[in-house]
Structure formats: structure tokens, C-alpha cells
Symmetry: C2
């Protein structure tokens, strides 16, 4: 799983056309707007299919760890295929994102999941402090986590 | 080289702190604002060190190809380490970006290169049409190019 975490003053999105792997959504999810958010752009990868539960666990641990540093009001999970060239099946990707959303909600976080498989317009800001842009490789393996936080 | 291409209504950036690999910049480059742009987020990778010239050539061919579809006013080259976990040396990365900028300018494109190695705040929009978000793996190899344009 490849993840890009952005601390944002604002994120807005609007769904446009469906791709062929679009999830069905309520009208309420056709657009969204968020202030002070940790936006978690996420590409679930083929390798993650081997160990979904561990991947979800390691993913939410990482999100919580970054969130504890930046303390944003909201966490936004944003599916972003463009971060990887070795994607999982759409079914597994949605399942992992849904389960991560659920787990974070159960722990009391204010979390929102952006629809999967839609073309979307968006507007985003990045605050620019050293922790406002981070990337991670997350696997189902306990110890494997790579960081790369310099430009 | 890992590349993310975004067709934007606006991009604004401001340099904040230097990282230890920051390039020296003129005051004029401390911030920038662009309308209708193809923003090319770019991570130069270790593998690209083997064949810098071919990488520059393949990179600008790809940028020109996407630009010919979307026909934005401006092309903005934006260094973005977070797209890869196997980065080249900063020296090679800057060299490749500078040479790509030069080559595109010589061909008459309106191109701008965002400073390398600085923490930056930014604001970005993505138009949301199917060609407004594309990612590419670009190598020094003639035939190797991977695309991944579905969500
Ligand atoms: Mg796309």
C-alpha cells in the first residue's frame, strides 16, 4: 500500500464520471468539503491482497501516528490509484478502505472516505510545514515501513 | 522516474523552510501562481542515473504528449520526492529537471520549474476530466512506459 499524507487547510471534491470500477454512492457523497484535514491518498497494491487484515492494522496505526503529530480536525481517506503501478483488485481496495474507515471511526476519529472509482475534480491545500507532506509504503509485514520525508 | 500529471485551474506555491538538499533560488522563485496548467509532479529515481539523457528525452516526450491532449497554457515541473521510495541523488534530480525545463522552453512551451528541496505550501485544483490525472513510470529504456489511468 502506497500512501501520501497531506495536512490541508482545505480539501474539496466533486464526483464527475464513473470509471468502470466505480462504487455505488449516496447523493450525499457526490461532493465534500473539509477544513483542517489529514488527507490520506491511498493506493492499495497487489501485495496487500495476501494479508488484508494486517495491512488495515498497519495502515491505521500509521495514520494515527501522523495524526497524533498534526492533530487535524478530520481524517480524509482518498483513494488514489496514481501512487502505484501495481494495484490490487478494486474489490480488495474498497474492502481495505472501508475497514480502515470503520476501525478509525470506532476509535473515535472524525473520518471520511471519498468515493472509489470515480473521476473527481478536487481542490487541495498543503500547509507546507515539515510534517504536512509525508509518504509511506505500508505492508502486511510488521516491520516493513519505509519513510521518505525529504524533498 | 515516477510522474503524476494534473490538469489544474490553479496552482500556487510558497517556499517555506529549506531541506538540507535545497537549491539556491532567486527571490522571484520564492512563490508562484499559475492558471490553466499541466502540473507535472516528478520523482527522479536511482535507476534514472544510468541514462540521464534518455530519461530527459522520454520525459519531455511524455509531457508533450499529454500537453497535446489537454492544451494547457502552462507546464509546471514540480519536484515531488513522495512519488517514489527509490530516489536518485539530489544532484541528478535537479540536473534532469533543469534539462527538461530547458528542452521544453527551446521547443517554445511556456514552462516553469518549481524549486527543488524546499518545504513548500501549495494550493492546487484538479479539473476532474478523465485526462486531468495521469501517472507514468518513465525510464531511459525506449519501450518501457507504464500507464495506469483508472481509479
Ligand atoms: Mg485517472
Amino acid at each position: 500500500m502506497r500512501v501520501l499524507l497531506i495536512h490541508s487547510d482545505y480539501l474539496k471534491y466533486k464526483t464527475k464520471n464513473k470509471t468502470k470500477i466505480a462504487e455505488e454512492i449516496d447523493d450525499s457523497k457526490q461532493e465534500g468539503a473539509f477544513e483542517d484535514s489529514l488527507v490520506v491518498f491511498t493506493a492499495v497494491e497487489k501485495e496487500d491482497e495476501k494479508n488484508e487484515e494486517k495491512v488495515v492494522k498497519n495502515f491505521i496505526e500509521e495514520v494515527k501516528s501522523v495524526h497524533s503529530d498534526i492533530k487535524s480536525e478530520t481524517i480524509v481517506l482518498y483513494p488514489y490509484a496514481h501512487l502505484s503501478s501495481s494495484l490490487s483488485s478494486p474489490q480488495i481496495a474498497i474492502k481495505i478502505l472501508v475497514n480502515a474507515e470503520k476501525a478509525l471511526k470506532e476509535e473515535g476519529f472524525n473520518v471520511y472516505r471519498v468515493p472509489f472509482g470515480w473521476y473527481k475534480s478536487f481542490e487541495l491545500s498543503c500547509k507546507g510545514h515539515p510534517l504536512s507532506e509525508l509518504s509511506r509504503n505500508i505492508s502486511g509485514n510488521e516491520s516493513e515501513k519505509s519513510e521518505n520525508d525529504d524533498e
